[in-house]
């Protein structure tokens, strides 16, 4: 019946009795670690919930745009995109739509009547943009009324589109009778209103007209920028290839950039925030571990008599190390379970309060194990102390 040495289960039993002897101390000891783990679990849990929530929304506006521009100092000296730039970039793999856009130098305000009425408020200064028909496709423009087409361009018709914001400022709402606007003494017929764009938001506040019309009436001599709509994931590559495709003899005249998408920006910001929280959680976890180590060491010192007694009863050094290590590991595990639960509840509450569907990373179930590991690490030195006490010395201390 006797094995001649303690059963592992019985030593675990002693460890449980040991930590439950002082429940108040047990609670305080594991508190720090529990809070650290709660912070970690909540951070990771919320990050996965939140990214699940918003990824769908942001994916629609993902990195699928490239902007091409004449290098500003070269533009000063009259450099422009070649007339066939649009056709040249269309040859690149992954370009789905492309259009040129140039802001015109206009010093006249934009109005709806020719003669100035001194009683009326002054006409607004609005940006006037020359855009190729393809540009409206490249920004996925939604237009009420109609767009200008190749015919308008060929004839250099005096037509214009108004951005929704510009139309509001000018009081243009009704298109059926072909309202006219005046820029100085140049008259243009408004044929459509740009209600929505994906990129190049300045279109919404501007007057937009065909490049040929701009050439005739505003001295347009060539486009300064181009907007490309490209296949997802192709943006970076196309941005690299575009200058050479457009200006093979002198690519440096052209800058091309794939602006970071909203999703990338969001990931970066969110990443910064959560890594800060993860760092804080880790610091709290380590502080919690140090707390456990402290209390365990105190406990060993308080229980020197018990340690001597157990040695007298036949405990080996290993038995005592095992017991104290198990006590520390149990404290760590309990702290881990409490902390994980706290973290889960926190991320649930936050998710539900925002009407998010809570998503829990199954990896988080490993968090109590992390608590156990912290407990074991924290208990290593105290356990070693408990095992290395000389029994005769230990028993002399009352």
């Amino acid at each position: 019946m006797s094995r001649g040495r303690a059963r592992p289960g019985s030593i675990l039993g002693e460890a449980m009795a040991g930590i439950s002897a002082r429940p108040g101390r047990l609670a305080l000891t594991m508190l720090g670690e529990a809070l650290g783990l709660a912070a970690l679990v909540a951070t990771v849990g919320l990050a996965s919930t939140a990214s699940g929530q918003v990824s769908d929304h942001f994916d629609r506006a993902s990195a699928d745009r490239v902007t091409v521009q004449v290098e500003p100092s070269r533009a000063e000296r009259g450099a422009r995109l070649p007339r066939d730039a649009e056709r040249l970039v269309q040859r690149l793999e992954g370009v789905e739509a492309a259009g040129t856009l140039t802001r015109l130098e206009v010093s006249d305000p934009v109005g709806t009547v020719r003669l100035l009425d001194p009683q009326a408020p002054p006409d607004p200064m609005l940006p006037v943009l020359a855009a190729s028909p393809g540009l409206l496709d490249a920004v996925d423009a939604r237009v009420a009324g109609r767009r200008y087409d190749a015919g308008h361009v060929a004839r250099a018709d005096p037509v214009a589109l108004l951005g929704a914001g510009a139309a509001r400022r000018l009081g243009v709402t009704e298109l059926s009778h072909g309202p006219a606007i005046w820029i100085g003494d140049r008259a243009l017929t408004v044929i459509g209103i740009i209600e929505e764009v994906d990129g190049r938001g300045e279109l919404l506040d501007s007057v937009v007209l065909p490049e040929t019309t701009a050439a005739q009436q505003f001295g347009w001599q060539g486009a300064l920028s181009m907007q490309l709509d490209v296949a997802p994931q192709a943006a970076e590559t196309i941005a690299r290839q575009a200058p050479l495709a457009i200006a093979p003899q002198d690519p440096s005249v052209v800058n091309a950039a794939a602006p970071p998408s909203d999703a990338q920006l969001r990931d970066r910001v969110q990443g910064d925030v959560s890594s800060l929280l993860v760092l804080l959680g880790l610091v709290a976890l380590i502080a919690g571990g140090v707390g456990i180590a402290n209390i365990m060491l105190l406990s060993v010192m308080e229980r020197i008599g018990e340690i001597g007694l157990r040695r007298a009863l036949g405990a080996t050094r290993g038995d005592l190390m095992t017991q104290f290590l198990a006590e520390s590991a149990l404290v760590g595990l309990l702290g881990g379970i409490v902390g994980t639960s706290l973290g889960f509840v926190t991320s649930m509450v936050v998710a539900l309060s925002r009407d998010w569907t809570p998503r829990l990373d199954p990896l988080l179930l490993a968090a109590p194990v992390a608590g156990l590991v912290v407990g074991v690490l924290a208990g290593a030195f105290p356990a070693w102390r408990a095992g290395s006490l000389e029994p005769a010395e230990a028993l002399r201390t009352l």
Partner: protein, 226 residues
């Protein structure tokens, strides 16, 4: 019983010195033999080396020189692990300070005596119950040690020392913290156990206490007087 040929304890020229400048010899060439079934008192003035001797007898400390045979096993050449196993199986301890664990019940404290022998929990509990009845404390088995008197605590400690069925019971000043009535009850218990065949080696500085034993060994200045 073949007492003369089976000593439980045999010390041969045991010395114990502690490192220091100069090193101090606490025990010098101690020869001691305790036979099975004996009740021996080891007496001597305070500081004479009695506790040092008992620690050696209890395998809690090792002699610097000489040999110590326990049940014929030479304990000076064996591993720590085997010494621990010998303590668990063959030695029972009773201390002046009782050394009961406050967070355990009386019965749990007693059953600790079989823990490191590897007895199953149920068997330990059974033995604890029987021994608590034996020392007259069966009705306090669920009490906490702090609710007991000094004499009761020492009887609990004696019950604990008997759980593994040891070859010898080693007691260091077992009455040192007790009033005379409690001391008397504890000494009567030793006498009864002795009558039942338990071997007892008891340390005391009190000649009155030593008188209850059947044989006395005097130790003065780390040497056993003949």
């Amino acid at each position: 019983m073949n007492a003369a040929s089976s000593p439980v304890i045999a010390l041969r020229a045991v010395g114990r010195s502690f490192a220091g400048n100069p090193p101090v010899d606490i025990l010098r060439s101690v020869d001691l033999r305790v036979d099975r079934g004996e009740f021996v008192a080891i007496v001597g003035p305070s500081g004479s080396g009695k506790s040092t001797l008992l620690n050696i007898l209890g395998l809690l400390d090792s002699p610097t020189t000489g040999r110590y045979l326990l049940d014929g096993i030479d304990t000076t050449t064996i591993s720590h692990r085997r010494r621990a196993r010998l303590r668990a199986a063959r030695l029972g301890f009773v201390f002046q300070a009782f050394h009961l664990l406050p967070h355990l019940t009386v019965a749990e404290n007693v059953s600790l005596g079989g823990l490191y022998l590897g007895l199953p929990a149920r068997e330990r509990a059974r033995r604890a119950d029987r021994l608590l009845d034996r020392v007259g404390l069966g009705h306090r088995r669920r009490a906490r040690p702090r609710t007991l008197s000094g004499g009761e605590r020492q009887r609990v400690a004696i019950a604990r020392s008997l759980v593994a069925g040891p070859s010898v019971l080693l007691a260091d000043e077992p009455t040192g913290n007790l009033d005379s009535v409690s001391a008397d009850a504890v000494l009567s218990l030793f006498s009864e156990l002795h009558a039942e065949g338990v071997t007892v080696a008891m340390i005391t500085h009190d000649p009155g206490v030593a008188a209850r034993a059947h044989r006395r060994v005097r130790i003065v200045d780390g040497q056993v007087l003949r």
